[in-house]
């Protein structure tokens, strides 16, 4: 099992790591049994066209190298995107942007897009009119 250079970069210096106080949406995926837990915090705002965009995004992850680097990469991909665009980000896309993941890690640790989706759903639920 060997990680790509990009995975190691994101693992060593993760982007957007931390929590957002009074976040507009929060999503947590994974479980302690399998060892990987990811939590995503979102700050949502409207752009000039009146669309909802991810103004800020942060993550907290307890997990292996792949779990941490996919979290970091996903936040890079999602930041600044409209919710509609952000929902199109897939786990596969995150792995691809990282230059691939070891096969074993594709299923157990590649959950960042799921966490993002959950955080967006959380936001949408709270803001239902």
């Amino acid at each position: 099992m060997k990680y790509s250079k990009k995975v190691i970069e994101h693992f060593t210096r993760p982007h957007n790591q931390g929590a957002i106080e009074q976040a507009d949406g929060i999503g947590t995926v994974g479980n302690p049994k399998c060892g990987d837990i990811m939590r995503i915090y979102l700050k949502i705002n409207q752009n000039s066209k009146g669309q909802e965009v991810i103004e800020d995004i942060k993550f907290e992850t307890l997990g292996c190298g792949a779990a941490i680097s996919t979290s970091s990469m996903m936040t890079d991909l999602a930041k600044g995107k409209t919710l509609e665009e952000a929902l199109k980000i897939t786990n596969e896309k995150v792995a691809e942007e990282l230059g691939g993941l070891p096969t074993l890690k594709m299923h157990c640790s590649n959950l960042a897009a799921d966490a993002l989706k959950k955080a967006i759903e959380d936001y949408q639920l709270k803001n239902k009119k």
Partner: protein, 408 residues
């Protein structure tokens, strides 16, 4: 020592072959390359080397050379011990209804557990997997309770490879000796005693009469010898049959051309063990130093297992809120090699079966790190390790925040 030099703290996984051992092996690849089973002088020369190695191994275990066979390693020796014992029972009990019973523990190496599970699955044997205490020891009382009229074999490891606990081998041996006398009168099958001593050879007494074992597995590459070679002590009179056919090698118990360079290597390595008397003391000092520093200087750190009856070279730590594979990866990027009980590093779904059997929660098992010391490690290396470890754990805990709280 330069900070850039790599630090190897995974000596329970494997060790580097000693230079002297390697030198002894080299001629047997292309100068003295004969097949020991050949009658001509090339063969005789190779057979003489095999015999000499067998003597060295027998000296170490204080047994007869006729009681030592060479195998490809401890996994094969464990397979042969268990499957070979079951096969022997079957061949001498044609009554198909009577199935033999084997007792082992839930913290054995996978090669023992998987062998036992496959015998169970194939309906060839009944197996009891003994539980362990939270400190990682089998309970002698539980073992006694598990014995059945059809019990033929008990297989308990000498030193656990993940947490380093020393199992009560001498006590089991003494108990079985008495019990087998009673069983003889009751016309019940004798219970043979096997131990996987792979992790014990470097530091513990392996005199087979003191241990009271009938079968003992060992491996070359854990004792500064080569990989792909190991052996099995088989006490004279032990009911065991071959499981690998193909030739008359190894007293007809293991078919296959001798791995002559490997055999020469394991002989040389085992001979050196008796000569390096001081190394255990040095490693005990290092172990104490490591445990004290880590537990004192790293918050929320714990020792998995026991401080008593702990083999000198293995330490298993647990750091709450840190996942083992990420810790291993971060240390590796700093040039430090360790091992983890987390499934994420092994490509398995569940974390260490040993830590789970000791009652740890999954997330605790995932947070575990095994450090295993070797004779070439120094205090300076441990200083570098502890300093790096502190920083990495701090960083990884920052990344994980408090996500675990949702699940508690």
């Amino acid at each position: 020592m330069s900070e850039n030099k790599k630090i190897y703290l995974d000596n329970a996984a494997t060790t580097a072959t000693d230079q002297e051992v390697l030198q002894e092996m080299l001629p047997y690849f292309n100068e003295k390359f004969g097949n020991p089973m050949s009658v001509h002088s090339f063969g005789q020369e190779a057979m003489a080397a095999v015999d000499e190695a067998r003597e060295k191994v027998a000296n170490f275990f204080q047994c007869s050379p006729l009681e030592i066979i060479f195998t490809s390693g401890a996994s094969e020796s464990n397979n042969l011990s268990i499957k070979g014992s079951v096969r022997s029972f079957q061949l001498s009990h044609k009554d198909k209804d009577q199935k033999p019973h084997v007792i082992t523990s839930s913290i054995e190496h996978h090669c023992v557990l998987d062998t036992c599970k496959s015998l169970e699955k194939d309906d060839l044997a009944e197996v009891t997997f003994l539980p362990v205490t939270e400190k990682g020891f089998i309970n002698l009382g539980k073992l006694k309770e598990a014995i059945q009229p059809n019990t033929i074999l008990i297989s308990i490891m000498y030193v656990n490879n993940e947490v380093g606990t020393i199992q009560p081998i001498v006590e089991i041996g003494e108990f079985l000796q008495k019990l087998n006398q009673e069983r003889l009168e009751q016309k019940l099958p004798k219970i043979f005693f096997h131990t996987d001593a792979t992790q014990a050879l470097n530091h513990l007494d392996c005199n087979i009469d003191k241990l009271g074992v009938d079968l003992l597995s060992f491996s070359g590459h854990k004792i500064y010898g080569p990989k792909g070679i190991g052996g099995l002590f088989i006490r004279k009179g032990t009911a065991i049959r071959r499981i690998q056919s193909g030739g008359d090698q190894e007293f007809k118990l293991r078919g296959g051309t001798h791995n002559v360079p490997g055999i020469v290597g394991v002989g040389a390595a085992i001979e050196k063990l008796s000569q390096d008397q001081n190394k255990s003391e040095k490693i005990i000092d290092l172990q104490n130093y490591l445990i004290e520093r880590v537990l004192k200087e790293i918050p929320k750190s714990n020792l998995n297992g026991s401080r008593e009856n702990l083999a000198p070279h293995i330490v298993n730590f647990r750091f709450d809120g840190v996942e083992g594979e990420s810790l291993l990866l971060a240390l590796d990027l700093e040039g430090i090699a360790v091992s983890t009980g987390s499934a994420c590093a092994a490509g398995a779904l569940d974390p260490s079966h040993v830590l789970l059997a000791m009652g740890l929660k999954h997330e605790q098992a995932h947070s575990s790190l095994r450090v295993s010391l070797g004779k070439n490690n120094t205090k300076e290396e441990l200083d570098v390790f502890v300093e790096k470890l502190k920083k990495i754990i701090e960083r990884l805990r920052r990344i994980s925040g408090d996500v675990l709280k949702d699940f508690q």
